[in-house]
């Protein structure tokens, strides 16, 4: 069995308004963060997972992302995978 460290990034789709991102952008500008054109907030999920090779692990992570980590009606996801 191989062990992998996976980092999943979940982001609101570009077409979906991100009010928390807008509020943070507004606060950033007050702090003097000149030049900020856009600020959007997502989630990062760290998973350690075992499996028989990268392909099997990717299949499992794809399922988790699609069915649980992200709601694909409003969110996109991507992930990076590192063998431990």
């Amino acid at each position: 069995m191989d062990q992998f460290a996976v980092k999943v990034f979940v982001r609101l789709r570009p077409s979906v308004l991100d009010p928390a991102g807008e509020a943070t952008k507004s606060a950033s500008l007050k702090l003097g963060g000149d030049g900020i054109k856009s600020l959007r907030i997502g989630k990062m999920i760290e998973v350690k997972i075992e499996g028989n090779g990268e392909n099997e692990v990717r299949e499992k992570i794809d399922l988790l992302c699609d069915r649980l980590f992200a709601n694909t009606v409003i969110e996109d996801y991507e992930y990076s995978l590192e063998k431990l």
């Binding site: 609101l12 979906v16 308004l17 009010p19 928390a20 509020a23 980590f69 709601n71 009606v73």
Partner: protein, 221 residues
């Protein structure tokens, strides 16, 4: 109808389950039974309410974890059999997360938790959930949510409009919902999800009776 029983789902974090039960039993004399989320036996109930609250602490996304409970898994067959399911607030979020209704509920545009009475236009009479006799009519119901902004893509919205699946629209959109949507049904009409709380508008003494009809319509078969 004497034995007609409405199941009221209880998740860890549900907090409107008792309100729903009180409104059904006390105001409408309809028998209720609490259904713990780990149960998948729905044989004793004739209709189901998924009440408001914060199931599983709203972790990950509202309704995202609740979707995997044994009870929600058993709901598929229940819905297919034509029995009625009403999802209120967090219940609406769970119904979208689990795919019984299209779209998703996201953070209110102004980021506030909004607790208010809102005026709603009844748009569709699909499923007989509202007393509008096929005509546009306005009712007033309380809302209490932080993540009630209905979102769907344009194709889904077109489908909702074309198939008359939009049940309720806000008169003055409080949360930024697409197309002012406050509640929708499935195509068959036996599943309704809405952000407003009909169970909190069942007694004249505590804010009106505009919610009675919707709860009463649970006994339609």
């Amino acid at each position: 109808m004497d034995n007609f029983t409405v199941g009221v789902v209880v998740f860890p974090g549900s907090n409107c389950d008792r309100d729903v039960s009180w409104a059904l039993e006390g105001c409408l004399n309809i028998r209720t039974k609490y259904l713990w989320h780990e149960s998948s036996d729905l044989n004793d109930v004739d209709a189901i309410v998924i009440p408001g609250g914060f199931s599983y602490g709203d972790y990950l996304r509202c309704g995202a974890i609740a979707r995997f409970s044994p009870l929600i898994n058993a709901l598929d067959e229940f819905v297919k059999s034509g029995k009625r399911v009403l999802g209120i607030c967090n219940g609406f979020q769970i119904l979208t997360e689990s795919g019984f209704l299209p779209g998703a509920l996201t953070a209110n545009k102004n980021l506030n938790f909004i607790c208010d009475d809102v005026e709603l236009d009844i748009i569709s009479s699909k499923g007989g959930w509202f007393n509008n006799g096929g005509e546009k009519q306005t009712i007033k119901l309380p809302i209490a949510h932080g993540e009630g902004r209905y979102h769907c893509d344009s194709d889904t919205l077109k489908k909702l409009v074309d198939n008359e699946l939009i049940a309720l629209r806000y008169k003055n959109n409080p949360n930024g919902s697409s197309f002012d949507i406050a509640g929708i049904t499935n195509e068959k009409g036996n599943v309704l999800g809405l952000m407003p709380h009909p169970e909190r508008a069942c007694d004249e003494l505590i804010g009106g009776t505009d919610g009675l009809f919707t709860l009463k319509s649970l006994i339609l078969t």
